[in-house]
């Protein structure tokens, strides 16, 4: 299996083999972070630009750490303090970064499809760090990597995704990835947070948390994005926790030990209780650790593919 794609934009357009190549490469990279010198020279001389149009701590830092562990130089651009504020277009910003001889742009953007548009306009690699409600491929890959590490396989696993499915790029990428690898996905949320037609993605739907947990091997709990609707948020949060919150009692009703995942940041007492977030079902911090290995793999693979493509053009 050879990785040929210049960019990583989402899991919808990846084959099962391509997803498995990223996961197996990440598995080898994980060891690098356990060394005393946590660094290999694989991307020495390459420049990675983190271009973030939305606030982010863990994704940006994770990409930065991943790039640095591969010996790349990293530049972080937060658009609130850049020329974007003066009205520069996304394509112009991208072309300027390309003109600096950067090699990879990691972009977070609030518009769905922004990463695709940028990738089409540039010769350098673009990695999607989350675009609107569309995809967040590296988060899904690290979720899948963690599940595979914990349970040894994805094929046949029952994974429930609980929370704001409608606005979640994490949910969409997870659904693409898990179903391609043979996992069974159930989504669980209040009716208003389940988008029409989602069953076409090959998932089951439920509005009942007990039923979502009943046969689950893992539950991926999404962050409730109450910042979208501040008005009357407090009673809604209590109500949400009562109806959909992950608690010890709910987990204990299952025959299996359910793995609990969350892309972070957690709203404790809203999506899950604190004893679940910190309990032995939780792999939330392991997800963060695995995120570095997965992002190292992605940066390595796209950089190699783009380098080979350039050499072919020269020949």
């Amino acid at each position: 299996m050879v990785w040929t794609k210049k960019d990583l934009l989402g899991l919808e357009y990846l084959s099962r083999e391509e997803i498995e190549l990223i996961l197996s490469t990440a598995d080898s990279f994980k060891e690098v972070s356990t060394r005393e010198i946590k660094k290999v020279p694989a991307l020495r001389g390459k420049t990675v630009v983190n271009l973030f149009y939305e606030p982010s701590t863990r994704t940006r830092v994770s990409f930065e750490v991943a790039a640095k562990r591969l010996s790349a130089d990293v530049i972080n651009i937060a658009t609130e303090t850049s020329s974007v504020r003066k009205g520069e277009t996304l394509i112009d910003t991208g072309k300027n970064i390309q003109a600096l001889n950067a090699d990879i742009i990691v972009m977070r953007h609030n518009c769905s499809g922004a990463a695709h548009m940028l990738a089409r306009s540039l010769d350098i690699s673009v990695v999607n760090g989350g675009d609107g409600w569309h995809e967040h491929p590296t988060q899904a890959l690290l979720d899948i990597f963690t599940l595979k590490e914990k349970l040894g396989r994805i094929e046949g696993l029952n994974v429930s995704i609980v929370g704001d499915i409608a606005h979640s790029r994490v949910a969409r990428s997870n659904i693409w990835g898990l179903t391609k690898l043979g996992g069974n996905v159930t989504v669980c949320a209040p009716k208003m947070l389940i988008p029409d037609g989602i069953e076409k993605m090959g998932v089951k739907i439920t509005n009942n948390i007990e039923s979502a947990l009943k046969n689950a091997d893992a539950v991926n709990v999404l962050r409730m994005q109450f910042e979208r609707d501040e008005k009357d948020a407090f009673p809604k949060q209590l109500e949400y926790f009562r109806e959909f919150g992950i608690t010890k009692e709910r987990l204990n009703k299952s025959a299996k030990k359910i793995i609990v995942m969350h892309p972070g940041p957690i709203n404790r007492g809203i999506e899950m209780s604190s004893d679940v977030a910190d309990g032995d079902n939780s792999v939330i911090l392991e997800q963060v650790t695995n995120g570095i290995a997965v992002r190292m793999a992605v940066l390595f693979l796209v950089a190699q593919a783009n380098e080979r493509r350039k050499n072919e053009t020269v020949d």
Binding site: M1, V2, W3, T25, D27, S28, F29, E31, V32, R35, E36, I37, K39, V40, P41, A42, L70, A297, F300, Q304, A305, E307, R308, N311
Partner: protein, 179 residues
Amino acid sequence: MKEKAKILDKESISRTIIRIAHEITEKNSGTQGLCIIGIRNRGAYLAERVAAQIKMIDRAPVSLGVLDITLYRDDLTLVASQPLVHKTSIDFDITDKDVVLVDDVLYTGRTVRAALDALIDFGRPRSIQLAVLVDRGHRELPIRADYVGKNIPTSRKETVEVHLEEVDGKDEVVIVEKE
């Protein structure tokens, strides 16, 4: 590709490993502070065999590790096919140890250079020695092996193929010629 000659068969590979194991224990006066690290892929299996022989000779176990040098290669962008990254597994401290690197074929010396860079990122060994099953010449870097199974003068048009039971189902070393 045409097979030109068989250089080593199963028995001669076995005898060569035994000889190299004796030379290593003799040069290092035993196994105190000694560790054997094989370079993936076939060097790792040869390292296992050498370590097993040393254990029989000296009646003491020797630390064994595996090094993947993909991320240290200086020609990653020149290779046509995708290099697969494998795991490195060195679960002991190499600082102040005598490390014997093991590989199947010594050719330009670039693999060994990459392995030296990688090893030094793991610690500061007292010494690094090199054991190879075959030295086929054509060095591009100032590197030589301390223990050589067999010197095989070759032309650059030829390829030395090491086949091992663990990977290829048989033990042999052959020279093949590009047609």
